[in-house]
């Protein structure tokens, strides 16, 4: 399809979004990522029945945790699409990038950089 999507997106492959844990999402923000999103199958079509529904619950939970500590919860999001929807994948990547650009950089980035220098 040769579709373009923003190069700042780093893809981490998991067998199912049900594998995405609260600590994966929280840890990414803790280490300075500006935003994280999980892309799962359409609701109702999970091969493992409820993997994407569990991922959604976890994303919502992490949003609350981020709000509690004083960060924008919306830095973490969940998107759903079917595996045949390449253009939608690219559109979501673009949407997420624009959304995070509006929020600005993660204020924890400076601490993460300092740690990387150590």
């Amino acid at each position: 399809m040769r579709l373009d999507y923003p190069s700042n997106i780093k893809i981490i492959r998991v067998p199912c979004t049900g594998k995405v844990d609260v600590m994966h999402l929280l840890g990414a923000i803790q280490r300075g990522a500006d935003g994280v999103y999980a892309v799962g199958c359409m609701e109702g079509s999970c091969h493992y029945n409820a993997g994407n529904l569990r991922a959604r619950e976890r994303v919502l939970h992490v949003q609350k945790l981020l709000e509690e500590i004083g960060l924008e919860g919306d830095r973490v999001r969940m998107y759903n699409l079917s595996s045949g929807e390449g253009p939608t994948f690219a559109a979501y990547a673009k949407e997420m990038t624009e959304h995070i650009r509006k929020l600005g950089p993660n204020p924890l980035k400076k601490w993460a950089r300092a740690k990387n220098k150590e």
Binding site: L65, I69, G70
Partner: protein
């Protein structure tokens, strides 16, 4: 199992105010099963505290360890070599575990990260309900396996009271009357005679910490 829930984040954060290096001690037994204070919950809380304090430009160094059981000195021993390097200990165990940790390290501030809530059952993942108040005088044999101390709003050993209302409790129509449930269970088992037995009131006065020594064991002599 003992069921606990994590304290609100801001409460934990304010408990740790002024400490720069804190060891978060999880417990691998009851609170791990009820998803309140096991290894994973320790990691999540530490990440939250780390981020929150960095956002305030006042970082805290969080250590993490989860012991098998905090209510057992045998497992607390593993902490002896670590504790000295920390300003305070944060415990995610139940109230018993927190106190035992504080007893082992009396020079260190030991702070709770969870509220111990009840002895209960697992109704589903993450869903727990209270079933026992550990009253020390179990009447379940007479009440069809339904605890009146826990399930009745008045904790009546001999009920129902005048507030029973078509199967509901007077405090809330969605709260079933424990003694109605007991009646129905005993009736179905053809054991209604049990309900006629009078149970003497529990002596709740002058409560001191209770001790249990199981048959075949004895309290070690001090010295």
């Amino acid at each position: 199992m003992i069921v606990a829930k994590r304290k609100p984040f801001n409460e934990i954060k304010s408990l740790l105010k002024g400490y720069g290096k804190v060891l978060n001690v999880g417990c691998g037994t009851c609170v791990a099963v009820c998803l309140a204070g096991g290894e994973k919950e320790v990691a999540v809380l530490n990440a939250e505290l780390d981020m929150a304090r960095k956002l305030e430009d006042n970082p805290v160094e969080m250590g993490a360890i989860t012991v098998e059981r905090q209510c057992d000195m045998e497992y607390l021993e593993a902490l002896d070599s670590m504790v000295g390097g920390y300003d305070a200990l944060l415990s995610m165990a139940c109230g018993a575990g927190i106190q035992f940790l504080a007893e082992r390290y009396p020079d260190k501030p030991v702070l709770p990260a969870v509220d111990t809530t009840f002895i209960g059952v697992n109704q589903g993942v993450g869903w727990y309900e209270e079933r026992c108040r550990s009253c020390s005088s179990c009447v379940l044999g007479l009440t069809g396996g339904i605890c009146p101390v826990t399930m009745c709003a008045k904790g009546l050993y001999n009920g129902p009271c005048g507030g029973t209302n078509k199967g509901s409790c007077e405090i809330d129509k969605n709260q079933p009357c424990a003694w109605q449930m007991i009646y129905e269970r005993l009736n179905a088992q053809n054991r209604l005679d049990c309900i006629l037995e009078i149970t003497p009131p529990s002596d709740w006065q002058n409560q001191i910490p209770r001790t249990v020594i199981q048959p075949g064991y004895k309290k070690p002599e001090k010295g």
